[in-house]
Amino acid sequence: MDGLIYYPTISNDEKLKTYFLKRIGCHSERTLSSAKVLDIAHDAWKKCLETATPKAIVRLTQVEEIKEDNIYAQGISIESSLWAGLAKNASNPLTLAVFALTLGSNLSQETLNAQKHSLSESYILHEAGSIIIENAADHLETMIREIPDLKNLTSSRRFSPGYCDIPLLNQNAFFQFLVPETIGIQMMGSGGMRPEKSITAAMLFSNRLPDIFPCLDCRNDKCQHRRGKRKETGP
């Protein structure tokens, strides 16, 4: 199956903007040392919404085999003991939806340009971009769940190379499978991507999934990205 092209939208609601403002330190619980920060933040948010051009490529594939550390699907294998553990306890058949998403190079260029005259503006644009791409990815997840073959299945949350549950070394497999260069994303030798505001990720679909993320089986109780408490494994 060739990749499907999607154009997720960015939610332009006040709630998201409030979250952004809070993340850069502009919220009602503290007094700003400079009102100018708030002006820059409003402008940066607007600029980010105007400049970002979310575009994604999505491919579906069937999982063929699951081993201790690997999920083997047609055309891609993903090395992750945590996700393999979760997939092992799901019911068959198991579908993998793999995607790459970018906000495009214009936003990256704006952020780089801003560095020349204002580090503050550049930082704020960078933060706005981070929030916006996660929002676009959330919308893309919804769009993927609407694909007719997946509509009645249970889905996991997205998981991306470079986080604790799936090493960045998997990036190469994602690129070979998706060829995101077709939507303008390049992979660097380190596994990093250009444009900077780009995401690769996968989601599992099945009739029954034991969990939607594998943190519950992870032994690292102190992980700052942890979602939920670890399951008790013995007496």
Binding site: G25, S34, K36, A41, S122, L169, G189, S190, G192
Partner: protein, 233 residues
């Protein structure tokens, strides 16, 4: 030499209160041309130093602190027009290691180093070892700052450090970034580790002592406010 002028206090205040426009305004005042270049630099950097301390205690956000950096940089731009560039500033080269595009942290460090009196050449993102070596040789810099946010670039960082030490043994290397800690920084061969902009002056002091234990710091910032300008030895 005059060590106090109201405009100096105002410049310091403008940087501290994150007001680049006010810095512009103050540079329109003709009396600034009569002031010693070093005093103006000191006022700007004092303002940033106070802001840096606020960042260290998390009294201000990163975005607010960077406005102080912007105000200081604005002042430096005006200074370039007012007076010939100070050629005696200690030189540093900084950049993000090859394969990584996360440049913001390196830019912040470069800004703070400028404020501390360094002449910084910032090579930006995705910089390979040959670019670092070429710039170090050309600028005769004594300090190299390497940044990376990605663990997959650590092998390249280690190799860059090894090459630089082999070819330029007198250059001291500071590293920083999300994928590093103090132990890892030592393990890959660096001379110093800066966890953040707030910690940077202490790291630079240690590095300066490695470069020349007898040399008085040439850095501008007078932390104890005992003197107005720190001269090189």
């Amino acid at each position: 030499m005059t060590t106090f002028h109201p405009i100096l206090k105002n410049l310091e205040q403008a940087v501290f209160s994150k007001d680049p426009d006010r810095v512009d305004e103050l540079f329109q005042d003709k009396s600034i041309t009569d002031l010693d270049h070093a005093l103006i630099v000191n006022a700007l950097t004092q303002g940033l130093e106070t802001a840096r301390k606020e960042l260290g205690t998390m009294t201000v956000s990163v975005a607010e602190f960077l406005l102080s950096v912007d105000a200081m940089r604005q002042g430096f731009e005006h200074l370039k027009k007012l007076a010939p560039e100070d050629k005696d500033r200690p030189k540093a080269v900084i950049g993000v290691i090859k394969g990584d595009v996360h440049v913001l942290g390196a830019n912040i460090i470069a800004g703070v180093m400028e404020a501390l009196g360094y002449d910084v050449k910032n090579l930006g993102q995705d910089t390979d070892v040959e670019q670092f070596l070429s710039e170090l040789k050309q600028s005769k810099a004594s300090i190299l700052g390497l940044s990376s946010m990605m663990s997959t670039t650590l092998a390249d960082m280690k190799e860059t450090i090894a090459r630089c030490k082999r070819e330029l043994p007198n250059v001291k290397i500071i590293v920083g970034g999300a994928c590093l800690d103090e132990n890892l920084a030592k393990a890959i061969g660096s001379d110093g580790y800066a966890a953040s902009a707030a910690q940077l002056p202490e790291t630079l002091d240690e590095i300066e002592r490695l470069i020349d234990p007898k040399k008085t710091s040439r850095k501008y910032v007078d932390y104890d406010r005992k003197i107005q300008v720190i001269e090189s030895s």
